[in-house]
Symmetry: C2
Subunit: 216 residues, 2 copies
């Protein structure tokens, strides 16, 4: 299934396509064209065709892709054929928002527990999840088969949290703190930098104005 | 400055490089090599060189890039040579986390006001920002030169909010709601889909395990 490496931008889009295919599956639609996927997702047909070329063997020219088969193949590629147990570190506003984010569980990612070093929060529940002290984090990861940690603590604490995590069997970190974490190669880190998203947006705004002045 | 179009992944990295260059500038360092940027950012030198090739005229082989000049050029490209006034729609947990996110203002993006349809919240302040009712949003955008809106409402309400926004002079939307928004071409939308980030992470974890079994 994973003999080849896919560009990161394509991996991101595959994730979006899979979400759309899951909706299409619910409508009992059997086959779909790359053009229909593009229309459903607001993308361009050329981009979709390029991304789906990784699954060329499943598509038939003039017929399209088998929805269920394509979705399953994408999920396999993305590592979604298994369940991922996660912990969340940081019970502040962002942690609270993340703990009630429905999109994670639907895709096989489940937050099992929350960790915080604020003793006023430890022992309480946040959106149905228990808040534990950070000094119990390593044992919890071992005992509960946790493979992904979401860091939602202030920037000043993020590396300290990462330093604890890398000594555990954790495999990946989704980092919301606005700092670059130093971790060993065997731990994957994905940074969610909200400013970067804004700057891509401002670039696109500027670019749109430049290339389509007739729409002004 | 903006004669060429840059791939989105490069635009994202330029944003990260610029943040790093800003830190380097503060240390009064005059020139920097692509390798030093790679080291500072945890990227590969080849990737950095490829991205910075868009600014080739500013780098000198063996000497490197003038830090201040390169950073200013990147900021111009990203549209950061101006200030961006923003509003935030949604005063829930996510909105609260976003309203206190320091990274925005440092880069020239300023949230001026928050909008919510919960009348228990309207009139209150959230992290020093006033909460207004959504029916005042269009007038506020006009009166305050707002060009970017951040949508942090539940998925069911996001399109309704977008429908109001597209009738205003708003130029871009940063959308945190897990839905695909339908907007006219002249409004740029950037979706921050938290599940997509997790799925790129799980792909990377799976891929790392496959390609580096000796590190297991």
């Amino acid at each position: 299934m994973k003999e080849f490496k896919i560009p990161e931008a394509t991996v991101s889009r595959l994730s979006v396509y899979s979400r759309y295919l899951t909706e299409v599956e619910k409508q009992h639609i059997v086959s779909i064209s790359s053009g229909e996927i593009a229309e459903g997702m607001g993308g361009t047909p050329a981009q979709v065709r390029k991304d789906l070329a990784y699954f060329g063997e499943f598509g038939t020219r003039g017929v399209g892709y088998n929805v269920k088969q394509l979705n399953q193949e994408i999920k396999n590629i993305l590592g979604l054929s298994k369940k991922w147990n996660m912990i969340l570190i940081g019970a502040g506003n962002l942690g609270s928002a993340l703990s009630q984010y429905h999109g994670f569980r639907e895709r096989g990612f489940e937050i099992k527990g929350i960790f915080d070093n604020d003793l006023n929060k430890v022992g309480l529940m946040l959106n149905g999840l228990p808040i534990y002290p950070i000094n119990e984090m390593a044992d919890y990861i071992e005992a509960n088969g946790i493979s992904i940690a979401i860091i939602a603590v202030p920037g000043d604490y993020a590396q300290d949290v990462a330093d604890i995590l890398v000594e555990t069997p954790i495999k990946g970190i989704l980092n919301f703190a606005p700092v670059v974490l130093t971790v060993p190669d065997e731990v994957e880190v994905r940074n969610v930098d909200l400013s970067v998203n804004l700057e891509v947006l401002s670039y696109n705004i500027e670019n749109n104005l430049d290339t389509m002045p007739e729409e002004e």
